[in-house]
């Protein structure tokens, strides 16, 4: 179907200012294919169904709105207490000086540009491939744009149990930076890798991560986005899971004028699991969108989506989550919950939970709630001597707990909970 002329025009106008980065090798074709995909779907506009609750304008326009730099002087670095392999990107550019030596047992690490220049490379079978699969049935134009124009990124291949997590640190140093990163991750059969991500990255950040988990492999992902208020981000995760594979991703978001996190998971082998979870806290001019699409195309797989948002002072939260169970994907166990706690009458939460099921022997459940602090619980706590503000914070953290429990590493879970607690405390009057 031809695109509306206005959409084509807007897309071409945006592309006019861009040129494909020199890739060489297989990278050139991958980028050109992606550009073709992007042209055929067009960049999103306000009236697009999939962008009904999140305005794409500032993500589409040629130059990002400037974002003031922010340094959290009152907090220690996120994941700082963790033994990790640090990889630093400054405004979307790899910083070798600031990064650790990339050699680690059980893991191959390469920059995207190096991988693309290599004649034969495993990344070729993943780069843009999972993204392209994820374009149907719903188009994700910013992901195609990312594949076409990504200027940096890592290729990670886990061949065994990686000795420590890879920690991707995204620093923001330039108020008008526009960064596009693309990571390709392959977890070989039986291998195990944890990837941590934190930092604002840029004034505007388009990030794509493709994760292929082979049979019996395990991928763990914990990401924090915050506390920079003015940053904008559109991110995609595309995961393809083999037999008995495990994929677990958790995101904590605090602040941010615009964040859209999409996660697209496809079960291709039986008996695999995927857990995608997020906790987001927003105050004032905050817009956070979690868009998740899980496709069950194998037998006896388990998927969980747990998303919680705490919104105040006119903050906005969005959840679009879908479980698609294809014909034959019997014994599917699908669960999805999205909840928002609105701390005042000005904040809002839009939820679009969807189930589409073509198999007849499955257990799928979904739920979505929007509510305020429970007055009964608040009074109960106060009647025992807990001050109103403390009681409220306790109830907010209790609300977020179900999402935070999805983090496997207890140390990280505790650290992130403590950060949330401090975030709440800073907002007391």
């Amino acid at each position: 179907m031809a695109l509306p002329q206005a959409k084509t025009d807007a897309t071409e106008e945006r592309l006019a200012g861009l040129s494909l980065p020199a890739a060489g090798g297989w990278g050139t074709a991958a980028r050109e294919d992606a550009l073709g995909r992007l042209r055929s779907m067009g960049l999103p506009q306000r009236r697009d169904e999939y962008w009904k609750y999140t305005r794409p304008d500032t993500l589409v326009q040629a130059d990002p709105p400037a974002a003031a730099l922010f340094e959290a002087k009152d907090e220690s670095p996120v994941f700082g207490a963790h033994d990790r392999l640090k990889v630093v990107f400054v405004d979307g550019v790899f910083d070798a000086e600031a990064s650790d030596d990339l050699a680690m047992a059980g893991l191959e690490v390469e920059r995207l540009s190096d991988a693309m220049a290599a004649d034969i490379h495993w990344a070729r079978d993943v780069y843009g491939v999972l993204e392209a699969r994820g374009q149907s049935p719903v188009a994700r134009p910013f992901a195609a744009m990312n594949t076409a124009f990504a200027t940096d990124g890592l290729c990670l291949r886990a061949t065994g149990r990686a000795e420590k997590p890879v920690s991707l640190i995204y620093l923001h140093r330039d108020e008008t930076s526009d960064a596009t990163l693309h990571h390709v991750i392959k977890i070989e059969a039986g291998a195990d890798l944890t990837v941590l991500e934190n930092g604002p990255a840029a004034a505007r950040f388009n990030k794509c991560m493709e994760v292929e988990v082979a049979d019996g492999g395990a991928f763990h992902h914990v990401r924090t986005q915050g506390r920079d208020h003015e940053r904008r981000a559109v991110t995609h995760i595309f995961a393809r899971l083999g037999r008995e594979a495990s994929f677990k991703s958790f995101t904590l978001t605090a602040n941010g004028v615009l964040t859209r996190n999409e996660c697209v998971v496809e079960f291709c082998g039986d008996d695999a699991i995927a857990h995608v979870a997020g906790a987001a806290v927003g105050d004032g001019d905050f817009h956070h969108d979690d868009t998740v699409f899980v496709t069950h195309d194998a037998v006896n797989c388990e998927s969980r989506q747990v998303f919680k948002k705490v919104l105040r002072n006119g903050a906005t939260g969005v959840f679009q989550g879908k479980i698609l169970v294809k014909d034959g994907a019997q014994k599917t166990d699908g669960y999805q919950i999205s909840q928002a706690l609105l701390l005042d009458d000005d904040s809002q939460f839009y939820a679009k939970p969807e189930l589409e099921i073509y198999a007849d022997d499955v257990a799928c459940s979904h739920g979505s709630t929007t509510g305020a602090i429970d007055d009964e619980a608040l009074f109960y706590l106060r009647s025992r001597g807990v001050e109103r503000t403390d009681a409220q914070d306790l109830l907010v953290l209790a609300f977020l707990a179900e999402a935070l429990e999805e983090i496997e590493d207890e140390g990280i879970a505790e650290d992130l909970t403590a950060r949330l607690e401090r975030w709440l405390k800073r907002r007391r009057r």
Partner: protein, 251 residues
Amino acid sequence: MLDIKNLHVALEEEDKQILKGVDLSVESGAVHAIMGPNGSGKSTLSYVLSGRDGYEVTEGSVTLEGADVLELEPEERAAAGLFLAFQYPVEIPGVGNMTFLRTALNAQKKARGEDEVSAADFLKLIRAKAKELQIDADMLKRPVNVGFSGGEKKRNEILQMAVLEPKMCILDETDSGLDVDAMKLVSNGVNALRDAGRAFLVITHYQRLLDHIRPDVVHIMADGRIVKSGGPELALEVEKNGYHDILAEVA
């Protein structure tokens, strides 16, 4: 200890008078019971004393050891030594029972300018108190009242009372929903706390609870007032003849 004078209370939302001049004095070391038919205002009295929203005091006063209670926020009342054992204890998913209790105890201590209790000392304290009430480790770890049976919830209220050591304990129909064994456990918990420096106000429908928690004074409440006061024998009279005779007598 607790002095209630000519207390008039209306519901905030609808212009309805619930308490119409309650006078009550509970002295230190004493156990007072309030009985009365449904709708007489017993539970409203307990809520107003603890500071719940939705009630407007239109007249009268309440003091705890001479200090005005009605001016205080619920948490300030708790720190001052007032405790309400809820008729319907609230479930709080996501907040562990132990965390809740320790937070409450330390908040009260902080408000009173006392030192907070360390995690280790608290653990010792709660283990000892929980054992007396036959509350197992699992119940302490679970979220507050979530998945607790009726009896477990009431025992948990008494555990909170035992840990917080309030001066003035109000028990709002603590016997409702309890079987005989649970009632004994709860009563023993309450009796263990009886002390010259502490007072109790036990609100109940039935005389049965008062077999276990022996009151010094029994009050009969009807239509928002205390209509009769007497010794424990008054409770027996209610049990035998119902409220009808007493109410007819004072009418």
